[in-house]
Amino acid sequence: MVGKSVDLKTFSAKDGLWVAFVVILAILPLIPAFSSNSFRLHVMILILLYASMAQAWNIIGGYCGQVSFGHSVFFGIGAYGAGMAVVTYGATPWPGIIVGMIMAAIVAVIISYPCFKLSGHYFAIATFAIVEIFNRGFLVWDWVGGALGLDYPIIKEGLVNLMWHQSKTGYYYSALVIFVIIFGTVRWLEGHRFGYYMRAVREGQETAESLGVNSAAVKLTAMALSAAMAALCGAFFAQYNLRVDPPMVMSLDTSMKFVLITILGGAGTMLGPLLGASVLIPLQEYTRAFWGGLGGGVDLIIFGVLIILMVVKQPDGMIGLIRDVGKWASNKRAEERN
């Protein structure tokens, strides 16, 4: 979408496609093949959730170029926000979600400020370290449930409690709303000053500064925004699984998922996270469903090989793959014409 950004319209044909896509998604549960409690609906919920998570990461990791492995911290804070509101205080999750998002943004700014002074691998390892510190900190912090975690009671279902019992349709539409919020925000950013500034910082910090871009402020803002959105996803994750504990939400594994999905799909692009989640999540869920019961970790072996292949062969992600195929096809057409 960058290439055509020469035109002035803020609402382009591309956005029309997005709207169409969301409408299709919204209609899907009405088709019988997606019965209200099917595994397929579960997979779709996960795709939407992980695509949103990846898109949240994409703000700072893709657009702004700061590869953080620490996003599970923010995801976890969001999850704990919702979890504690319901489990500890017996309230609805909503205030917890808001507080969680704000807390995540604050924590993001505090820990990112010193980290942004680090470069390359030093930064990456610092974010690893932060995840481990938070993970272990939460494991011993009794106020948040410590190692025991938080278990949701069964309470009244509905939007008020953001909880549904038998049917997954409610969760599906909630995930869709989160998806729309996060993708919409990123789409908006992409076409506005802040979006250009983020990419400028990614491409060259000194250059950006010479053009009047306060790169530190851009990075911190992007990080805060990204963290708040990750927290929103985390809150949904807690509501969906009805349990929060540190290994579940604040672990390197979770962090890696943010990164992997985005990179596999195509970092710094709007479609990348969705594409990555659409491939990786069904793969993960269905390989586990097919082979997981064998107990040999076959699903994970395949998963590992696939990651290697994908990363090595197409570092631009699947977006790059599609682009290459597109190029190849148009070349072919051009040849035929000649």
């Binding site: 591309k14 272990r136 504990d245 997981g292």
Partner: protein
């Protein structure tokens, strides 16, 4: 990294999304054409840090199903002498891997019910997985049989469809403290202080909490409280902390590899308490005694089963032969055998209820006392909330690589070696 996005790319993404969701969907969960089949799901951590235990549990359920489905007149176990239940219904297992993660476990539980159409679930070893997974079952009004998860909280939720066979860490803690009191009386052991070492996870933390409660009720003083990160590269500071506090007795909750590391580190530091009692898992892993050799001796723990219990539970021996074919010769342990019991008791209840109706079967499970030759004490009965009120375990001590029964006295077969022999006198 930014590309000119064509409409093509967009539609390609949509296609990938839909293919991902659609293609795999149908075809899953198609059942065998056979009519008289009861599908039961198993949900265990088949990969991840506790995969060993999970795989053994799965094998135990498979063993039980083999007994139920086929005629085994040589076994003195209910349902062994007939083929199937309810006049020819056979049980078919559908296995799933929780990876030891609550979110995965919950998703798999839902898939097993909704997609695979299982009738009931057995699982799921980790208490942290059993909690959300059993919630799924409860909300669907389906039965969840839990063999070995030990968290007492599981059966304090007033659930109607949840049944747990193993003794809880609460009862185990009381039993441990009883053992110490008994030692003080009988042996003038003079045990006054307690140290706790446990992995900082749902399992360890919960056990330690119960241990503290039981200890303070009995007037014992907890002088060292040492949680550690599971999968640690060493346990030096943990053991050093214990050594410095030098408690008379240590209660431990450590799984597999951590347990062996703990023992070896204590040996290296040339320290041992007078007595050490462990919650299930690490201590009762049959591999421990073999691999640690004499170092494993004189440590104690609660055991629901060990091959040396054959005198008490004569029926197990032949069942174990089947189990061993699935585990490469590893015998039952106290966790896995509970899963076999869970399967057997469920089948007995279905047989007795006479219908495949979850509510009826759950009522039947609650209402009766079940014969269970694979359980210590031989009986199983469920209290409100689903706890097996007849759950027993014995405090044993490893002597010469064998689990010797020490307490309660009426079950004992050996005199306790007290205190633990120093490392250099073995």
């Amino acid at each position: 990294m930014s590309f000119r996005m064509s409409k093509g790319a967009f539609w390609a993404t949509l296609a990938v999304f839909l293919v991902g969701v659609f293609c795999f969907g149908p075809g899953m969960g198609q059942t065998l054409a056979q009519e008289k089949v009861i599908k039961i799901g198993t949900l265990f951590p088949l990969t991840g840090p506790v995969a060993t235990a999970g795989q053994r549990c799965q094998a135990a359920v498979q063993t039980a199903v083999e007994i139920i489905n086929n005629k085994h007149p040589e076994l003195k176990v209910p349902l062994a002498d007939q083929e199937g239940i309810l006049d020819g219904y056979k049980i078919v297992l559908v296995h799933a891997d929780s990876q030891g993660k609550p979110d995965v476990g919950k998703a798999e539980a839902e898939r097993l019910f909704n997609q695979e159409g299982v009738w009931a679930l057995i699982g799921s070893y980790n208490s942290s997985v059993s909690k959300p997974a059993s919630l799924v079952a409860e909300r669907m009004k389906r039965i969840f049989m839990c063999g070995a998860s030990s968290s007492a909280a599981l059966t304090q939720r007033d659930m109607n469809f949840f049944f747990r066979l193993a003794p809880t860490d609460e009862t185990e803690s009381v039993e441990f403290v009883e053992t110490l009191k008994w030692l003080n009386q009988k042996k003038k052991a003079n045990i006054e202080t307690i140290g706790l070492i446990y992995e900082n996870s749902e399992f360890g933390k919960h056990a330690a909490g119960e241990a503290k409660k039981a200890a303070s009720a009995a007037g014992l003083k907890v002088v060292a409280d040492v949680p550690f990160s599971p999968g640690a590269t060493n346990l030096n500071s943990e053991v050093q902390t214990l050594k410095n506090a030098n408690p008379d007795a240590v209660l431990g909750a450590l799984l597999g590899a951590d347990y062996s590391l703990w023992i070896r580190t204590m040996k290296q530091m040339a320290w041992a308490p007078k007595i050490a009692i462990s919650y299930c898992s690490g201590y009762q892993d049959p591999v421990i005694a073999k691999q640690l050799g004499p170092d494993a001796d004189f440590f104690m723990g609660s055991t629901a089963y060990s091959p040396q219990f054959n005198v008490l539970m004569p029926a197990v021996g032949d069942v174990e032969k089947i189990f061993k074919t699935k585990t490469g010769g590893v015998p039952f342990d106290g966790d896995s055998i509970q899963e076999a019991v869970a399967m057997l008791v469920l089948a007995q209840a279905i047989q007795k209820a006479g219908v495949l109706d979850a509510e009826k079967v759950a009522e039947t499970l609650h209402a009766n006392t079940w014969d269970s030759p694979l359980s210590l004490g031989g009986k199983v009965a469920f209290a409100k909330g689903g706890q097996n009120s007849k759950a027993h375990s014995v405090v044993t001590q490893l002597q010469g690589g064998e689990y010797k029964r020490i307490f309660p006295e009426e079950m004992a077969d050996t005199e306790i070696v007290f205190p633990i022999k120093p490392w250099n006198q073995r």
